[in-house]
């Protein structure tokens, strides 16, 4: 595929030109952290007419991981913690994993969950199971592989989150003003367009599944603007990757190993049916059973408004701590930590 056409400056300029005629205020939420980053990366926000504002949503897995997970991991002794990189700077109540590593905790940054299995050949390993539908199938596959290899010193701490229940919880809030959604590309590859139908059916709000190239993003914004004049719908701009029903094999994998649970979201609290735990058949690999870990929603640090940022109620500069106290090198709230967090993206790209 000639991906360069998705960055064609002329095509993008043409669509931006069409958007200039949009007079009504339009508040759109990009659900996914990778969209937030792409919007910042390409400088898209400043190219849009002043009437259109983009608000970042709850779609950064690191940002919505509760403090209690970090605290529980730091308590562990003589276990190697295998995690994706962006989790290590998330502050818990007793500091971050990065700081704990400097004090002697075994923390290994991995790029693929299967690396955790290699580590477990030699030592006791916990794989930190954070992520949305994009990463979860790979984690499920890792558990199946662990069983095949008959590993005894490997477990996974499930703190997975799923997107549709979070969107439902968000839409149920009374004071959230959103006119339409840019729906996540990667997550939708797995779950498919059908998973979002409830948004129009129950809440009368539209959304567009879109990719991460600048042309994808401005096209989706344009279509959402058109929806305001017509009727809200769920549309798929990302047909080159996303189908109506998603990736069946990946979903079967998740189904085989994991089961739906309620889950605590940092800043949002408990959301019914928004998590995935490990099924009893795979209990031997469940770190929450093995080490007796239970996760709580917890509170944000005093003054931190990550919860309101994640719900799109405020933009990061409206938080009193933003950039003054809370900075990437010393993050107070989770949205400043991950490169995909809205606050980190604003700090890096929009100041």
């Amino acid at each position: 595929m000639d991906w360069k056409k998705f960055r064609n400056p002329q095509l993008i300029a043409d669509i931006l030109q069409l958007l200039q005629s949009h007079q009504q205020p339009l508040r759109l939420m990009e659900v996914c952290g990778t969209h937030t980053m792409a919007i910042g990366h390409w400088g898209i926000r400043k190219l849009l007419p002043a009437t259109i504002s983009l608000i970042s949503g709850p779609g950064c897995p690191v940002c919505v991981t509760p403090t209690s997970l970090i605290d529980a991991l730091i308590e562990l002794k003589s276990v190697t913690i295998a995690t994706f990189g962006d989790l290590i700077r998330v502050p818990g109540n007793y500091g971050s994993l990065e700081l704990a590593r400097a004090r002697g905790l075994q923390v290994k940054v991995i790029y693929s969950p299967l690396e955790a299995l290699e580590l477990a050949e030699k030592r006791e390993v916990i794989l930190v199971g954070i992520g949305f539908e994009t990463t979860i199938p790979g984690m499920a596959q890792t558990l199946i592989e662990a069983r095949r290899r008959n590993l005894k010193n490997f477990s996974l701490l499930p703190a997975f989150k799923t997107i549709p229940p979070a969107l439902r919880a968000l839409l149920k809030e009374n004071d959230v003003q959103i006119d339409g959604f840019l729906l996540p590309g990667h997550v939708s590859v797995i779950i498919g367009l059908e998973s979002y139908r409830f948004m129009t059916q129950e809440f009368g709000i539209g959304g567009i599944i879109t990719g991460f190239e600048p042309l994808d993003i401005v096209t989706a914004i344009y279509h959402l603007a058109l929806q305001q004049e017509n009727s809200p719908r769920i549309e798929n701009e990302y047909r080159r990757c996303v189908s109506d029903r998603g990736n069946r094999i990946a979903r079967d994998l998740m189904e085989q190993v994991l089961e739906v649970q309620d889950a605590p979201w940092r800043g949002l609290g408990w959301i019914p049916g928004s998590g995935l735990g490990i099924r009893a058949e795979f209990a031997e690999f469940d770190a929450s059973r093995k080490y007796g870990i239970t996760l709580a929603a917890g509170n944000d640090p005093p003054g931190c408004r990550c919860g309101d940022v994640l719900k799109g109620k405020i933009i990061p500069p409206e938080c009193p701590l933003f950039a003054r106290v809370c900075q990437p090198e010393n993050p107070i709230g989770p949205c400043m930590v991950s490169s995909e967090g809205s606050c980190a993206a604003y700090y890096k790209y929009e100041q």
Binding site: A13, W42, L99, P328, E329, N330, S339
Partner: protein, 329 residues
Amino acid sequence: MNNKDDIITLGHGSGAGLTRKLISNIFSETFNLPSLEDAVQIEHRLAVTTDAHVIKPLFFPGGDIGKLSITGTINDLAMKGAIPRYILCSFIIEEGLPLDLLRKIVKSMQTTAVAARVAIIAGDTKVVEIGQADGLYITTTGIGEIPEQVELNTGNIKPGDKIIVNGTLGDHTIAIINQRESLGLEPAPVSDCAALNELVQMMIRAGKIRFLRDATRGGVATILNEINAETGLGIVIQESDLPVQESTRAVCELLGLDPLYMANEGKLLAVVAPDCEFLLEKMRNHPLGKKSVIIGRVTEQERKVYLKTEIGGLRPLPLLASDPLPRIC
């Protein structure tokens, strides 16, 4: 509970904001250092520098810790316009390191030094218990001679100056990540590890150079921010002009990394006078400068460092606090 500033974390070694803070708050303050540059001029026309090398893996496509320990120090000298003459080296060796491996690394140091016309003249060796070091650490100290009339520093930089790099960005980091994390890229990306002294002397002869810096830890973006902090001048980089290999671009997009912040070991950033066509042509005729290109300009119109994106958006290119972390999805 200690707060985050109370102990050293890996972030302090990233070459980015935390490293700067560490150097200014602990070292510069105590030692009364006048500047934070890698190499300094002492006495009449002498430049000295020192550099510790702790790379894992010890061998990687395009180089090894031995070659790197020589090129790194040569490049620090070269960026002051100095002609590197002598190198001293000290080794911290972990018990258990195979002698064959050490021999190979030392040989690689000598080959690199000879090719760059530098003499390795003295050194020191310490062996530590198994587990106390990661195979081998090498610290090299270099001494060079700055030719008459060569004064490269940020004080020379003026609005309208151009920013040049001598080739593709991020190659070293991608080569290391690929090997260290077994990403399995085919063909395996090769580090750009190279001594730049010959290229630099040729550039100085061609003229128009205001300032040079090798774009190691922290990458091009970190240097641009240092220039901005020291001169107060704005810088605008043109994304469409950035030389980045397709494979690097792909890996970066996948892992959420940015070539502008990635370490290089054979790339320099030059700030040059606006009429630099002759210099650019000369650079492109050198084997280490074939892909030299203007990536941006110095301007009074802006106050910070910005990137003009391929689609025309303008976004800040700030100093990062620490290494960018590979992302989850």
